[in-house]
Amino acid sequence: MLEFFNTLATQSFLQNALLGGILASIGCGLTGSFVVVNRIGYMAGGIAHSVLGGMGIAYYLGLNPFAGALVAALLAAIIIGVIKLKWQHQEDTTIGAIWAVGMAIGIIFISKSDGYNTNLMSFLFGNILIISDEQLFIMLLLDIITIIFVAIFYKQLVAISFDIEFAIVRAINVNLFYLLLLCLIAITVVLLIQVVGLILVIALLTLPAAIAKQYVHSIGMMMLLASVLGMIFTSTGLFVSYEPDLPAGATIILVAGIAYFISSLAKSFIRFK
């Protein structure tokens, strides 16, 4: 147990891991709250998984996979958003298609590159222990973009999430804000991939926010609480996984899942007492 703290004090990889978890938690608290109240976890899942396509292509071309991820995520967000807004009834199928096709493209390109297995595994499940200083800086940048955007358009984002018809009546450009919200999700997904990998992104995006929702009466408070919970889960997961050498991403999700389970149970227990 002490070993974790000793290493933390001396080794930059573990410091970076802890910091990476904290930075990712900020994004997941802010955006995750909107995913939960809009009930668009499936949509976020589509964006997250299709990202593999972009990562694969970038990796194959020798470019930074995270740049590829960001481009793919934004592209998927816009396609899904436009389809949702124009052809409501086909939403499910389209998201499923984008989800699978994105992954297929990624796997094909990665298989044609060197280091097939290790890279695929780290894209899918993340590797929090190899976050570089540069990546931390990019994460910080993405966090700042998210915070500024949410701070400026908080009331519009809440309004379209709450009652889209009333938002139209109040002259809000709901299509524009809906697309921007999906782009925000895309950015957050990329932010989270290094920490837990793209398969587990949705859990980290939704679980802290879903727990927070059980205790607060405003989206703002929900964001704050979800961010703090995210920080606790990533740090705890990292700590628990370190000595037995468990995969950190999976351990973080397990911690979040257990917390969600306990919180829901406690909540319903209180209600029925």
Binding site: E165, I168, H217
Partner: protein
């Protein structure tokens, strides 16, 4: 001459080839307290959504103060028939009412002092001020409807469109809330949908009966004959109980 608050000419509306409204012509003048009545499925909600620009008509024209709806959104307040949101949404009564300030507030970013002052004023008017900090999950149906009225009033509109705002409200409270409408009618035009013709007739100065087409309009006296035509019988005549 002042412009009509709402003017509808030769309006036809259908959804997926199913005709919903046919050949509607109606005028609501500024200061009117107009009632829109008719059977279930008669097209009342559709008509209000057309006025709001939420639906597009196949043909015909709707103008608000002589302009197209899109440029007049600021002037319209809307209380929907059904709440369009999830009841477990984490939001307080005050923040819900503040949403009425969107599109009219002069403040950028967060809601400002002026918005909050107006929200408090309309919450007092609709008697939900004591609930301001409560979450909407905890409200009763009637309290919720008052909150929705407050949200619409917060825009300080010139026209209020109310779609059965008293459906969940008990009879004593219904009278209270209509007295509130009566008071706000001093400063704005009202179009209200209601099933309780007898009750609203004490308040309104104009009635439109809608069953796909306008069966009666403006100031044609509502006789048992028109009601018969509208509902197909078995409805008691309008009683004025002054």
């Amino acid at each position: 001459m002042t412009k009509a608050a709402i003017e509808i000419t030769d309006l036809n509306f259908s959804i997926e080839n199913l005709s919903i409204l046919e050949n509607i012509n109606m005028t609501i003048e500024q200061g009117d307290f107009a009632g829109l009545v008719g059977p279930n499925g008669g097209g009342k909600t559709s008509l209000i959504k057309l006025i709001l620009g939420l639906y597009k008509p196949q043909s015909g024209k709707i103008s608000i103060f002589g302009e197209p709806v899109k440029s007049q959104r600021k002037a319209i307040g809307y209380v929907p028939q059904y709440a369009n949101f999830n009841n477990d949404f984490p939001i307080s009564v005050q923040d819900t009412v503040l949403q009425g300030r969107l599109g009219v507030s002069s403040c950028f970013g967060r809601y400002c002092r002026e918005d909050k002052v107006i929200a408090q004023k309309v919450m007092q008017e609709t008697e939900v001020f004591d609930l301001a900090q409560r979450s909407i999950q905890s409200l009763s149906g009637g309290q919720m409807q008052r909150v929705l009225v407050a949200r619409a009033l917060a825009a300080e509109p010139e026209i209020m469109l109310l779609d059965e705002p008293t459906a969940n409200i008990d009879q004593r409270a219904e009278k209270d809330i209509f007295d509130i409408f009566k008071a706000i009618n001093e400063r704005m035009t009202i179009l209200i949908i209601s099933h309780d013709i007898a009750f609203v007739s004490d308040y309104i100065n104009k009635v439109f009966c809608l069953n796909k087409t306008l069966v009666c309009h403006d100031s044609t006296p509502v006789t048992s004959d028109t009601i018969h035509k509208l509902y197909g019988g078995h409805v008691s005549e309008v009683h004025h109980h002054h």
